[in-house]
């Protein structure tokens, strides 16, 4: 753990390079380095598509299939969000990634006093199935997958997604949702948690268990090192915590008596791309290897395809700056290059105006085009893992692997990931690292263009997305209408059933689907969970 640093002499010659994960980079690498680290091609790397998958999970990489593009999209009412979805799809986007507003993420209806000022602000407002009917209108749900970026109430949104698909005539077995559904990382960073650790993890177990048979093409959990890194963690910590968190979800489902091979193949990951590019590329390669080894050695996973780390590598939010915002377009292009060189299955970029607010159609399309031109113009589809065999990259990948394992061991020694999150141990480590990085920026040890170097320039005008207060009023009015039209006895019946299964500790998913179909609100369903589970008590950090 360190501030990434360049040690220079008075003539600006670089004497030493220290990466954020604490690895020193040498001026040059040779076969001697591979000898030093005991490099063994078959054992450490192997051909693409072969264990341990360091080079990638498919033998033909992007030749067989380009990455899926999935810009994070959603704001205001479901109507506005639906239009933006259709716009992105018409420009060649191949997946959806739904942004929900904060009241929805926190399980409050749009007319709840807690939602005041937040309805439709950072994502679309969802109160009932009616909103999903509008948001997914004219979208071929059997052809395009949807990421649902929601965690504490992911079970509710997954149920609602099944309900909307069935309403539009799709078989649940044909749809592919990827709810983010990673609550432990919300407790480390991002903060959209509601329930205490134990019931929160149990809900994730419910979605995994339920998806196995009902929605087999769904990826019920997307484990996010992403936000942990955004909160300050080093790249090594990002991967270490993500793997341990994934293991916590596996353990929950195993305790229900399933075979790990029945479900772990549907896990996916969401990892970050900002920072030193070599360190990130080595990180992704090491992550694939460690995840596969973890599954094989710790969990005795048998099927090859279940060992794949399938990931969205993208975003890069923390790397973007408010200063000289157009520079973020270039940053995004380099981040996308890192993701492509690292063999991402799916990608998305934070748009250049996101240090200000959520993106405009223009900035979102610039991000999408950045991703497309990399695949279609620059030759990134030509060959798999083009950096393999580089003395530097192979050495760095091995060193990253060791750093990640060290970070994992620290947590295991502390008492495991669940305890480390519940106690705030990880949150303290991550907050301290964030402060160290900030001090590095302030002292100039860490360089950031437009922030502490090359600050001169013409002030740039950015056209910004404007929050529409009328959208919030419209949403509240629409909720009122749904409440008048729905059958209140059916709502009461389905909510009562939800309460019963929740109290009895059964899988809540079938009852949630029934609630959604009866147009029960997100707030009503969450209210039952709140009442039975209580709320997470944030550990004090300072």
């Amino acid at each position: 753990m360190a501030v990434p640093r360049y040690i220079k002499d008075e003539k600006d010659q670089i004497l030493d390079v220290i990466l954020e994960s604490g690895i020193h980079v040498k001026p040059s690498y040779s076969p001697e380095d591979l000898k030093r680290i005991g490099f063994d091609y078959e054992k450490d790397v192997a051909d693409p598509g072969k264990y341990p998958f360091t080079r990638g999970i498919h033998p033909l990489g992007y030749r067989s299939r380009a990455w899926t593009t999935r810009q994070y999209t959603g704001f205001g009412t479901p109507e506005e969000t639906n239009q933006r979805f259709l716009l992105m799809i018409s420009h060649g986007q191949t997946g959806l990634n739904v942004a929900f507003d904060l009241p929805t993420q926190m399980g409050y209806d749009s007319d709840d006093p807690m939602a005041e000022g937040e309805v439709g602000r950072v994502g679309m407002a969802v109160d009932t199935l009616r909103d999903f009917e509008i948001a997914f209108k004219d979208i071929k749900l059997d052809k395009i997958g949807a990421g649902l970026t929601i965690n504490a109430v992911a079970s509710i949104m997954l149920a609602m997604y099944q309900a909307v698909a069935e309403k539009y005539g799709y078989d649940a077995k044909m749809i592919s949702a990827t709810p983010q559904n990673d609550i432990l990382k919300e407790m480390i960073g991002r903060g959209a948690w509601i329930f205490p650790v134990e019931p929160a993890v149990k809900l994730i177990g419910d979605t995994i268990e339920y998806s196995m048979t009902t929605m087999p093409r769904t990826n019920p959990v997307s484990v996010c090192g992403y936000h942990i890194r955004e909160s300050g963690a080093t790249p090594a910590q990002e991967i270490a915590y993500a793997i341990l968190i994934a293991n916590a979800y596996i353990d929950n489902v195993l305790a229900r008596g399933y075979d790990v091979d029945d479900f772990v193949g549907r896990f996916s990951f969401n990892l970050n791309v900002f920072g030193n590019m070599w360190e990130q590329i080595a990180k992704f390669r090491a992550a694939r290897k460690l995840w596969a080894r973890n599954l094989k050695e710790k969990y005795n996973v048998k099927k090859t395809q279940n060992l794949f780390l399938r990931g969205l590598f993208g975003g890069g939010g923390y790397g973007l700056t408010k200063a000289q915002p157009e520079n973020n377009i270039m940053r995004g292009a380099y981040y996308a290059l890192v993701a492509a060189l690292s063999g991402a299955q799916t990608t998305a970029l934070c748009s250049f105006d996101e240090a200000y607010t959520i993106p405009t159609p223009r900035s979102a399309l610039i991000s999408l085009r950045t991703l497309q031109l990399l695949m279609d113009e620059m030759g990134l589809r030509d060959t798999v893992d083009p950096l393999a065999g580089s003395y530097f990259i192979e050495t760095l990948t091995k060193e990253m692997e060791q750093k990640i394992e060290e970070e994992m061991e620290k947590i295991v020694k502390y008492g495991g990931i669940v305890k480390a999150v519940a106690d705030g141990y990880i949150q303290r480590l991550v907050a301290r690292q964030a402060f160290e990085v900030e001090k590095g920026l302030e002292s100039g040890e860490l360089l950031k263009v437009g922030v502490n170097i090359y600050k001169e320039g013409t002030p740039m005008d950015v056209e910004l997305h404007e929050y529409n207060y009328e959208s919030a009023e419209k949403q509240i009015e629409s909720l009122r209408k749904v409440k008048m039209e729905r059958s209140s006895s059916e709502v009461a019946r389905t909510l009562k059933e939800l309460e019963r299964v929740t109290r009895e500790g059964k899988n809540v998913m079938p009852a949630l689907v029934e609630c959604c179909k009866a147009y029960a609100t997100v707030g009503e369903m969450t209210g039952i969970f709140r009442q039975i589970f209580g709320e997470f008590q944030e550990p004090s950090l300072f």
Binding site: L102, P103, G189, G191, A192, A431
Partner: protein, 134 residues
Amino acid sequence: MGNEKRIKVLIAKPGLDGHDRGAKVVAQALKAAGMEVIYSGLHKTVDQIVNIAIQEDVDVIGLSIMSGAHIPISQRLFKRLEEKGVTDKAVFVGGVIPGQDIPKLKEIGVAGVFPGGTPLSETIEFLKNTVKKA
């Protein structure tokens, strides 16, 4: 220096937004600068924040807001402070704040606005000067 009272600051996360990297970094920086810092934790209502500020008798309230709701939240905070007859506390705001909103926040009564990317030293300097004047 010896007899000077330590500046007491409440760093608060109002509303539903859970992005707390900035709030925690500022809290650590103010502590390192010798101030007494209380961190509210996430998802606090304006009422809860005002109550903590009164109970802890802080000099300054810092709000960290990334969701874009900084104007309605600040308006609510000042309304609540006024209702409670609290006039001795300076308020500053940090987070994702577009430049055009800074004059509006100042009009509401916010003493200082520090959007993401502001050097920590600037925030520290501001707090020292503001509390001295008060």
